[in-house]
Amino acid sequence: MAREKQGSPRQGSSSNTPDPIGSALRKMWADVENEQVPDQFLDLLDAIDAKRNSASQGDE
């Protein structure tokens, strides 16, 4: 919803008519975005960092 200001007109739905389906879809998406990111994702990024560090050390 915050991303509506991305410089493009909303194309999905007209803003003049009530649109429960549109707002429910937006809420469904936002609910997931607002969930706490599970630990596995942080572990994965850590693994990427470990690769990154060993790669950059190899360059020196």
């Binding site: 975005e33 994702f41 360059d59």
Partner: protein, 181 residues
């Protein structure tokens, strides 16, 4: 010191892009798969693939569309390889959240999830992507189809949702899509 072949700085930027996209990537995976665990597996695999393919990303281009496309391709490849239909499996049933009344319109997310399960995966992803704020042309890039196809999926998907939600008892298929351009 930056030397030819030293990718430390671009890799750090790419890593920052990955961190930032995780919530949206999870949302898109959920839109495709429905089920939380399967969606999170998909999103993690997409992150790994994106990292491995980072050299093919043009800095300054649309990172969101690029990585969403990776996730989507991976999803459909997985479905194909499994040689089975992976059903959209929404797990919103335990949620009781109600979308705030919108001039009389109320919709339970569980009802919406059930309605979404009746759509094709292509319609479902297009509808959720457009409501996530993505532009039609970006959705065309993500899904690899012409703009007209994106518009058609959104229009038909919306009509099907409306039909399901407004008249679930009506077993007679009604061709509403043709009436709403």
């Amino acid at each position: 010191m930056m030397q030819p072949g030293d990718n430390a700085a671009p890799d750090a930027m790419f890593r920052a892009d990955l961190v930032q996209i995780v919530p949206s990537l999870r949302a898109f995976a959920r839109a495709l798969a429905g089920n939380r665990d399967l969606a999170d597996d998909l999103a993690q695999e997409a992150l790994t693939k994106a990292w491995a393919a980072r050299a093919s990303f043009q800095p300054g281009s649309n990172f969101r569309a690029w990585i969403f496309r990776i996730l989507r391709n991976h999803f459909y490849t997985t479905v194909k390889v499994a040689r089975r239909f992976v059903p959209y499996d929404p797990d919103h049933s335990d949620h009781v959240q109600i979308v705030p009344p919108n001039q009389g319109g109320q919709l339970l997310l569980a009802d919406l999830a059930r309605a979404l399960a009746t759509l094709s995966a292509e319609q479902r992803e297009a509808l959720l992507l457009v409501e996530s704020g993505m532009r039609w042309d970006e959705i065309a890039v993500v899904t690899g189809v012409p703009l007209g196809t994106v518009k058609s999926r959104i229009t038909r998907g919306r009509a099907a949702l409306r039909r399901f939600i407004d008249g679930p008892e009506d077993a007679t298929p009604v061709r509403v899509a043709a009436l709403t351009p």
